[in-house]
């Protein structure tokens, strides 16, 4: 078990565990955080899981954990690991069960004062137009054939069906469609689970929020993103629902028998993987890409539900009730990217499990409208607390394969949260702060209480100081919808 003394402080916020700490490590491990966050890494299995990640074949530079790290399964949450495309592996456990869990941010043409009288009505309308909760059915009904098309085309499918605008796709990571999706690699059960859920929020830590932009840090970048002080915005946080869970489940199970075939030795069975250049590795990638596209469509359909709710409540009452898409980012994904390794361009499969891509200016993956400043990075806080919009940087590309944090990161188990926090009381506290809450259950509310999380501002201060993303805007919730 690694201790604090085994780490070397490389820079103010970078802590490195050398490769020789454990003989099966292929690269050193790096934790990003201030002294207090670093301390927290030793209170759960984060470090052990990061060391395990460092053993995967083909991993380059470092196994890394962003400052919102905490114990997960397989990889730690906040984990970033890049594998060589030619002789590295892809690991379903390095993506997670909620494939392409992510965040979409919509901007309104409205300010806080204009919306204040209708906030309650808006939250109620959103709760109705955006289905949530355990087993919740989605807004869209799709046939088996339509689902296959959706899985391959992602956002483009939504566009053809009249559920998206061209500019929504332009402002989505990967343009809303990860190439290489192969529905033939997806089990019938995953499709069965996915069909009824297109356009649903789900439960757990997923939420929908009406926010106000309460602070702008870089006016020129905020301007490029279409954000200004006192503006109303909406965040949608969810993923690929039962479809993605089943894809991951299928492959974590089926690959158990495969690792031996490729002579791969793993310290944790959740890290199960296959060479990228193998039939099994390609099959998982093809299925994972389907789930990525499913999640893009899911958030897209929910965005249309949000627009519908705004129209229902605000039409005839305000000048312009329309919402435009600022951006949509993935928090759980593996994808191929070019990065510089030892002075040469290399094709890598970058796993981000609870981490956000944070590409700086100039990268062709960044939408043209943002290419001069860098991509928006969306970092939701815990329920009822502030969220941040950051901008990607060259420093992130140099230091973390263009990655940064994805949220606050938990510190308290659900079991303790349920013991210490009373859902109904929490609801009253949030309402006392002027936040309108619509939630399926008080217990669900208690498990997601802000006290169960790290302070998102602390996490953001670290990535900002490190330069692996910079602060652009801070959002404050006004209305929260939870499953």
């Amino acid at each position: 078990m690694a201790e604090k003394k085994d780490f070397r402080q490389v820079e103010k916020y970078i802590w490195e565990l050398p490769r020789d700490f454990r003989k099966d490590m292929r690269v050193p491990a790096r934790l990003f955080g201030d002294a207090e966050l670093f301390d927290a890494a030793f209170r759960d299995r984060t470090v052990e899981q990061l060391v395990n990640t460092a053993t995967l074949p083909g991993i380059v530079k470092y196994a890394m954990a962003m400052p919102d790290f905490h114990q997960g399964y397989g990889f730690p949450i906040g984990g970033v690991a890049a594998m060589r495309a030619d002789d590295g592996v892809i690991s379903p456990g390095g993506v997670g069960y909620d494939i392409n869990c992510g965040v979409r941010l919509l901007g309104a043409h409205l300010e806080r004062d204009e919306v204040a009288p209708y906030l309650e009505d808006l939250t109620v309308a959103l709760y109705r137009t955006c289905p949530s909760g355990v087993g919740g059915k989605g807004r869209e009904r799709v046939s088996e054939r339509e689902l296959d098309e959706l899985l391959v085309q992602g956002g483009k499918w939504a566009l053809k069906r009249g559920l998206a605008r061209q500019e929504d796709l332009a402002h989505t990571e990967e343009g809303g469609c990860l190439p290489g999706a192969d529905p033939g690699q997806v089990s019938p059960r995953a499709k069965e689970r996915g069909r009824p859920q297109v356009g649903s929020l789900g439960a757990g830590n997923h939420f929908l929020e009406i926010d106000v932009v309460e602070e702008i840090y870089e006016p020129n970048v905020a301007d490029a993103f279409g954000l200004w002080r006192d503006q109303i915005a909406v965040q949608i946080h969810c993923g690929s629902r039962g479809f993605g869970h089943q894809v991951c489940d299928d492959y974590v199970k089926s690959l158990q028998a495969v690792v031996h075939k490729y002579n791969i030795h793993l310290p944790d069975r959740e890290l199960v993987c296959a060479p990228l250049d193998s039939p099994e590795g390609r099959a998982y990638y093809g299925a994972m890409a389907c789930a990525v596209n499913y999640a893009f469509v899911n958030r897209q359909v929910l965005a249309m539900g949000v627009r519908e709710a705004f129209e229902q409540v605000l039409a005839g009452k305000v000048k312009n009730f329309d919402l435009y898409q600022v951006y949509d980012v993935c928090h759980n994904i593996a994808k191929f990217e070019e990065h510089e390794i030892d002075g040469r361009q290399a094709r890598l499969c970058v796993h981000r499990k609870g981490a956000t891509r944070a590409f700086g200016p100039g990268r062709e993956e960044v939408p043209i409208s943002y290419r001069g400043v860098g991509q928006p990075v969306l970092v939701p806080g815990s329920m009822g607390t502030e969220s941040y919009v950051l901008v990607g940087t060259q420093k992130a590309i140099d230091l973390t394969f263009g990655s940064t944090c994805h949220g606050a990161g938990r510190v308290m188990s659900r079991r303790r949260a349920l013991k210490e926090i009373h859902g109904a009381e929490l609801r009253r506290e949030l309402e006392a702060q002027g936040i309108v809450v619509r939630a399926g259950s008080n217990k669900g509310l208690a498990e997601e209480a802000p006290a169960a999380y790290k302070d998102v501002s602390r996490v953001v201060e670290v990535v900002h100081a490190l330069g692996i993303a910079r602060k652009v805007a801070r959002l404050r919730p006004l209305g929260v919808i939870k499953g």
């Binding site: 355990v134 199970k253 158990q256 028998a257 944790d268 069975r269 308290m412 079991r415």
Partner: protein
Amino acid sequence: MDEGFEEVEHTADIAVRVWGRDLAELFANAAYGMACQLADVGDVKPTIERSVELEAYDAETLLVAWLGELLYLSERDECVFIDFDVSEITLTRLRAIVRGGAVKEYRRHIKAVTFGGLEIRPTSRGYETTIVFDV
């Protein structure tokens, strides 16, 4: 009362330690432990019966497949299973009848049963293991 399981600390997800005198009891207790995470099972009436038959690569994979199958059936049939009759079990094969019913309010959703740190260990009193659920 010995329910055959206990919740253990996990920062983000749910972890449950399970034990049983034999594999059949271990698997049944694991399923009951999972049901208790999904809902308050006290008022569930076992009105729905399903049969489950599974084959897997090894005992751990069989356990994940078993619990995953129950999660799937719960989602599909909108119920929680509370009664498990494991009639046949080896390290790679299982046959069972499960019974459950509708619940008024779910405690939470479980996304998946993970292999995180999963190992079925023999003990002096049978078997035990710790299962991490992604929630």
